[in-house]
Symmetry: C2
Subunit: 432 residues, 2 copies
């Protein structure tokens, strides 16, 4: 595909570059990049013109923490009486999965992401090469982690295998796929695994993605074993101070954890639906914001959410933060939107490419249909996005200047085939 020029005319634009700032104008996309915002220069001759006068245009969303292929386990054995029993149902399923299962599930996941206006996600699961393939088919962006569990011999093997199979996907991704290291958690990985993962990240100049302080149990067990909080433990074993990291959950950070976090190149990813559903607790994200920590937003996997819907996630994050702080202005809608856009980009080291609409940045953006009963009157568009909109309001999505969804139709896949294959796959997995 050559360098296509697209004009989105007369849109309500939310660039996410300054609090409360919006403008009515044109956006020009030239090839991969945003060429102009506001007024079309005379010399810009578009190949395609989209009348965006009934759309809001904003940066496409960043889902900063997920396990994409857990799509399969959506609403499966959901009503276990406690977390341990539920995990007891899930783990045996995961042991049975193969690369093809993950490919099918990832295709479904990519469709679902795009339908919610998401073009970038941060993943941690098995067979990352399958997920990467689906990302390429969908034309979106992914930071894909090599998941690590267990001890060092396990870890060396996992990294070696996955690095090999990831080469191809990454080479054809146009820079849209990044390989990261993802040690699962301190209670599933040895110290040596974390250290080896850290060394890999440092050598490859990549990032570490891990679960941190998700539950009180994780924290109290760590304190009992190490006399340190999980964050202090990771610092002590030398894995956080010199590689950038994305720390999922951070529900139970202490005051000194928060102070420590500020000194690191680390972002928190808030996953409110998952935290509530699994009764993990409510992360005090207002406090993290005020401490100057970068807080991004994620859905976690579809088996503890149970979808990949970032509009719902923003809504829940906002309501929770107000309810639990008791302060109706605790976090403004604009800050919630930052979590889902520029903060997510920062969390993944992509803030120079995406996360805002700025001339020269890559054109990852969503067009949201404002001609909806539930968005009428619009009044404050920032509030509307967080409190009134639903994912299905997203009409079209661009990633790196290419249209990936057009009027609710995701372009990279055959929708019916993907749904059918997912159902067939899942039925067969349950029989294994």
């Amino acid at each position: 595909m050559g360098f296509m020029k697209t004009l989105l005319s007369n849109a309500l634009i939310i660039p996410m570059t300054a609090e409360g700032f919006s403008l009515r104008g044109d956006i020009g996309i030239d090839g991969k990049h945003i060429a102009f915002i506001g007024e079309k220069p005379a010399e810009f001759t578009p190949d395609t013109v989209i009348d965006a006068s009934s759309f809001l245009v904003m940066p496409a969303l960043v889902n900063a923490h997920t396990h994409l292929s857990m799509e399969l386990m959506r609403n499966y054995k959901d009503n276990a009486p406690n977390l341990q029993q539920w995990l007891g149902e899930i783990f045996p399923i995961e042991d049975k999965l193969n690369a093809h299962d993950v490919l099918i599930a990832s295709r479904l996941g990519v469709i679902e992401l795009i339908q919610s206006g998401i073009t970038t996600f941060n993943d941690m699961y098995f067979f990352p090469e399958s997920t990467a393939r689906a990302v390429n088919e969908g034309g979106i962006r992914g930071c894909i982690g090599i998941s690590l569990f267990g001890d060092l011999s396990d870890t060396k093997k996992r990294i070696q295998e996955r690095e090999l199979v990831m080469k191809e996907s990454m080479s054809v991704s146009g820079g849209r796929i990044h390989l990261d290291i993802a040690p699962h958690a301190i209670y599933t990985c040895t110290k040596e695994t974390y250290q080896y993962g850290h060394d890999w990240a440092k050598e490859h100049q990549r990032r570490m993605h891990t679960h941190l302080s998700e539950t009180l149990k994780e924290v109290t067990d760590c304190l009992a074993a190490n006399h340190k909080t999980p964050l202090e433990y990771l610092l002590e074993i030398g894995v956080l101070s010199d590689v950038p990291s994305t720390l999922a959950h951070c529900v139970h950070l202490t005051e000194s954890d928060v102070a420590l976090l500020k000194t690191l190149d680390a972002s928190v990813v808030h996953n409110p639906s998952s935290n509530c559903k699994l009764a993990s607790g409510v992360a005090p994200i207002g406090k993290y914001f005020r401490a100057g920590i970068n807080v991004a937003l994620g859905t976690d996997g579809s088996s503890s959410n149970n979808n990949l819907n970032m509009f719902e996630e923003m809504h829940v994050a906002s309501l929770l933060s107000t309810a639990f702080s008791g302060d109706i202005s605790n976090l403004k809608p604009y800050q919630i939107l930052e979590m889902a856009t520029i903060n997510g980009a920062k969390a993944l080291g992509l803030e120079h490419q995406i996360g805002t609409l700025e001339v020269g940045k890559e054109a990852d953006l969503l067009l949201l249909d404002l001609h909806k009963a539930h968005l009428t009157p619009l009044n404050d568009p920032f509030s509307a996005l967080v409190y009134s909109a639903q994912a299905s309001d997203v009409h079209s999505v661009f990633c790196q200047g290419q249209l990936v969804m057009d009027n609710r139709k995701v372009l990279g896949f055959d929708y019916d085939t993907t749904l059918d294959e997912t159902n067939a796959s899942w039925k067969e997995i349950l029989k294994r």
Copy 2:
């Protein structure tokens, strides 16, 4: 319109008659009523056949507490630093509204309700005759309250005026509109207003709809003034023990309030989005369930939500209840669904007509499109409805046997005209 027979064939049916019960089968609608569920009798000859094989069919939802015309104030001045300042922006607007404004806003509200699968709502606002007119145009069902504020002379006047103008709407409603009494709250109404309202409800054999124990301030002020909780106060002044009541919010009930509530013909309406957004607190609905109190679900008005989306409300109710209780099985999806269907019907005294799919009941039902990425695989349909579905998955809606939305198109109104009129109205109201 004569007695039309409609066949919905091969649906996944959730009748809401027994926990966890679903069946694949046919549903027959004959005129206003459900004629059969499961297997089509040979003698049933439908006028219309809908292939429901990719749909889930369940009772249409009941929004048990709202202020429909607050649609106008959706996302308006939302970012006030506290509740009092926000109310200070809202009240002057409300003083300016006339019957025509409320008609326009109610039409938008009815569209939005139907688009979320809701056919019954419980309203409390000004100019109820305008809302009733919109209900008739939309073909849905409403329990519409005469809102009471202030002292007795005010109250007598309001009731007299509104009773008169409501007569016509109710006579053409086919039994779908009910007039109730709605004293706003103990801090906006005198004791005499409540008592007069109570007497009216008793005489007309209707219900009382009021806000109760929404905020800690309401409770502490009442304790200071009366040495009683709001519920105890209303009991003492004689307004709750012999009329059925719908008590909105009930965020801050004491243990003895809960015990008292059990002795009354009273339902709680839980409005989690509103309670969170306004930092009112989190109602411990699990506790109310266990005490055997009927708990229904509501969205409140669109200026403290900010939509009328009961799928979101179910989702938020579930997440909050788990997070707040710390117990992942605190309320099961089935119980959340009961809140939005049969419990709502009970709260409004309509449980013999609607709230479940049963032969002989009126045919208020929704068809939900399961052919969605975010509902694949389906696994547990009850979990799917609460954790994965979105309002826009609702494909078609029947109310009293009549189709009111067909493949996302609401039939009673011109959609574009309604949105345009709302925007024009609101623009003009702001200039008054």
